[in-house]
Structures are given as C-alpha cells and as structure tokens.
C-alpha cells in the first residue's frame, strides 16, 4: 500500500504521518504541499490512499479531488481539514472523497480511517 499526505503545513503533515506510521511503514508514505504536487505524485506512483487538505495555496483540495481521481480512479481520498462546515464536507464527498475528517488526526481516528477504507 502507498500513502500520500498532502498539506501546505509541515506541522499538519508531521502530525498525520506520526499517526499513520503507527500502522504502516514510513517508506510507504509520500508527501505533497499542494494540489499540483499531489497530482504529479498520483500520476507517477498511484498511491492507494491520499490524505488531502482543502485549504492550500496554488491548488486547493476541491480542485485537486477530481484531478486525482481522473489520474487514478482507484485512489481513495480522505479529506483532512480544519473546515468542518457541513457544506464543505458535502462538497468534498460529492467531488469523490471517501471521507472528510477534522484536523488534527490522532492515532485512534487514523485506525478507524484505515479500517473503514480496508
């Protein structure tokens, strides 16, 4: 399994990776800082799960979701965002994300996410 963590914040990426490495090997995890970088990595490495922030510079999560799925329809997208408005969740899911989770993610939430996506 391959994982991609996409967030413009280094702290957000580190926090998420810390939770993720309790369940998967660090060598399976890639990082991107915006939607553009995420699409490039999805094109090349076809990760199975993409963790994606919504509010990012250059290309935000809303724009990136359909492009990631176009590049690899099998990729499962988990939106990890501070934007917890109902409409934001609905928009992310309607664009094709599997889950919308509030930041920050702890180990328990990560375990639940990975079990749900199995």
């Amino acid at each position: 399994m391959r994982y991609l963590v996409t967030d413009d914040s280094k702290l957000a990426r580190m926090t998420l990776i810390k939770s993720l490495t309790k369940f998967v090997d660090n060598s399976q995890i890639m990082q991107a800082t915006n939607g553009n970088e995420a699409i490039d990595i999805v094109d090349k490495y076809k990760p199975d799960i993409v963790f994606l922030d919504l509010t990012m510079p250059e290309m935000d999560g809303y724009e990136a979701i359909p492009k990631i799925l176009k590049s690899n329809p099998k990729t499962k997208i988990v939106v990890v965002s501070a934007d917890i408005q109902t409409k934001a969740k609905e928009m992310a899911i309607s664009l094709g994300a599997k889950l919308h989770v509030q930041k920050p993610i702890n180990s328990q939430t990560m375990q639940e996410i990975l079990e749900l996506l199995e």
Binding site: S9, L11, M14, T55, S81, A82, D83, Q85, K103, P104
Partner: protein, 201 residues
C-alpha cells in the same frame, strides 16, 4: 509599553499557523451554522507585529468606519481577541438577519464576536493544552482615523494578526480578526509551540 517584537522562526510560525487554522475552521463552522451560510476559508496568513505596526497596517483598510468588538481571554495565554467588521458588511449582516434597528445590530455583532472569538481562542488553547476564561465582549464603532486612540490597542504590546477573512460571499459579509497579547503571553506561546514541535520529532 515594550515595543520590542518577539520573533518566531519558520517552524514556530508553521505550528502557530496550523493551530490557528484548526481553531479558525472550528469557529467559522459554528458561526456558519448559526447564520445558515457558507463561509469560504482562505489560507490564514499569520503575522506577529507590534501595535505600532498594526496601526500602520490599518492605513490599508478600505472602509472609513468599522465596528470594532473585542473579548478578553485569561489563562496561561491571555489577551484580547478583536473582530473588525466594516459598516457595509454590518449592514449586510443586518439584512441577512432581518434586523432593522441599530441596537439590535450592535447586539448581533456582539453575539457574533462572542461566538467567533470564544470558539477560536478556546480551540486554540485546547490545541496548546491549556484553558482560557472570558470576559464579556465590548463593541464600539470607530472611524478609521481614530483607531490609534483606542484604549484597547494602547493596552497591548504585540498582536497576532490573522490575516484571513470571515467571508460569507453570498451574504457579502466579511470581517478580520486580531489577537492582542502582552509580552509574557507571547513568550509562553513561543515556549508552547516548541513543546509541540519537539513532540513530533
């Protein structure tokens, strides 16, 4: 007043930005729910500056008159959260809420400020593993040219400027938030940001 600015390195700024991002997202969702509206969130730009620098920044504000509401918070991290909303946005808020008199509009802005600033600072405190308590919010309508005379601004030495807008596009309501603090709280904040950073290494 100590005018020497406490500086943050890139890693500290990144942690602060992400914590505020989380807190701001939480606060916006609560306000959006109350107003039955959707706020577009932008990447918050966090700047730490002295009050004098903030007053200089106000020169870039485009409107001549602002509702300026504040709420103090007390704890390990103490200060005052200030919310600026221009007159046009305040009038749009009144329209959205079917308010037709000044007293009710003041009341609505105070309530909005109370919810926004308390949920913002409460979540920020929670992310920094501490707690804060609050005073009642205050409101005043200030012409831009008189902002430098504000007693609230004169009381503080530093300010965290959250350069992001509470932006309800459909309703044409936007506002700006500032966290005013003193040097002691800023030093506590710096220490706490480093504890968080170390916990991730």
């Amino acid at each position: 007043m100590n005018l020497e600015k406490i500086t943050f390195n890139d890693d500290e700024k990144d942690v602060l930005q992400e914590l505020i991002n989380i807190a701001y997202g939480n606060a916006t969702a609560i306000v959006a729910d109350i107003l039955d509206a959707f706020a577009s969130l932008s990447v918050p730009i966090i700047e730490v500056m002295t009050i004098n620098e903030l007053l200089f920044k106000f020169n870039n504000f485009k409107h001549s008159s602002y509702f300026f509401s504040t709420q103090a918070f007390i704890g390990d991290f103490s200060g005052e959260c200030a919310f600026f909303i221009n007159e046009e946005s305040a009038n749009n808020l009144a329209k959205h809420l079917d308010i037709d008199n000044v007293a009710d509009l003041d009341d609505a802005i105070l309530e909005l400020t109370n919810i926004l600033t308390s949920s913002l600072t409460m979540r920020l405190a929670q992310e920094m593993h501490t707690e804060v308590t609050y005073s009642l919010p205050n409101i005043s309508k200030i012409p831009l040219s008189e902002l430098s005379n504000s007693k609230t601004l004169q009381y503080y030495s530093q300010v965290i400027v959250i350069d992001t807008k509470l932006n309800f596009k459909e309703q044409h309501i936007d506002g700006q938030i500032f966290i005013l603090t003193k040097d002691g709280s800023m030093q506590w904040l710096k220490k706490q940001l480093n504890i968080i950073l170390k916990s991730l290494i």
